[in-house]
């Protein structure tokens, strides 16, 4: 696998960007859920 990545360095870029992107998405989803919970709390009272 390392040989392949050594040749096609573009794929390293791909993996790096994918990791960053997935990290951001997971954070967004968590944030969204948190806001939803807070909204429900505020809405109840």
């Amino acid at each position: 696998m390392y040989e392949f990545l050594g040749q096609n360095q573009l794929y390293i870029v791909l993996f790096v960007i994918l990791i960053i992107w997935i990290g951001i998405v997971l954070y967004l989803i968590r944030l969204d859920k948190k806001i939803g919970r807070l909204e429900k709390q505020l809405g109840k009272d």
């Binding site: 573009l10 794929y11 870029v13 791909l14 960007i17 994918l18 992107w21 998405v25 967004l28 989803i29 944030l31 969204d32 806001i35 807070l38 909204e39 505020l42 009272d45």
Partner: protein
Amino acid sequence: MNSIKWLSIILITFVIIAGIAVPMVPQPQSFFEFPDIPGLGNTARIIFFHVPVAWVSVLGFLVSLYYGLKYLRTKEYDDDIKSVSAAGLGMLFCLLATMTGSLWAKFTWGSFWNWDPRETSILILLLIYGAYFALRSALGSNEVRARLSAVYAILAGLTAPFFIFIMPRIIGGLHPGAKEDASGSTPITQLHMPLNMLFVFFSGLIGFTLLFIWLLNVRIRTLRMEHRLLMKDY
């Protein structure tokens, strides 16, 4: 709303993978190969990311203008919240577009910044919106702030398309699509791209737009709650 969020995640992931992994060859034979432009090579892939981000930035500024106008008509605080959130996202994406463009400039033209007309006009646009936030922070959080920022958002939102679309076209420069560019108008408006590239490109455009809608939604909900807590409305 949920479908928008999932669709944007899927589309952008697709664009990331397709934009980077699909090989570039001089004579594309199949659907899964991009043409190789001599001189640009792999850096041409930036078009899948840099352009949608710039587009979303303009979208943000225009949405901010719309809600600014709406606020002046209705005087609803909610419209001010929407205007500010859109402006903030427009600013964020403008910064991202500038950074990605600057990085690309380094590898293509040799330096990070060239005072090319498009680069200069984007800088002025960033300053205009920076001033917008400076204005907001200098006014207390009340009706006056909402009113004055709405007026400024309208002014700034009117200048944004001018700076992004008109000015770089009337002065010659480095950036693709300037007046003396040998290849003519931008590769997008003339759809010089082959179908498979166009497909990825438009997926990116739509994906980032949906991402913008999601981010805007989250931001607006946060500001609304902040306001309610401030007004002790719970």
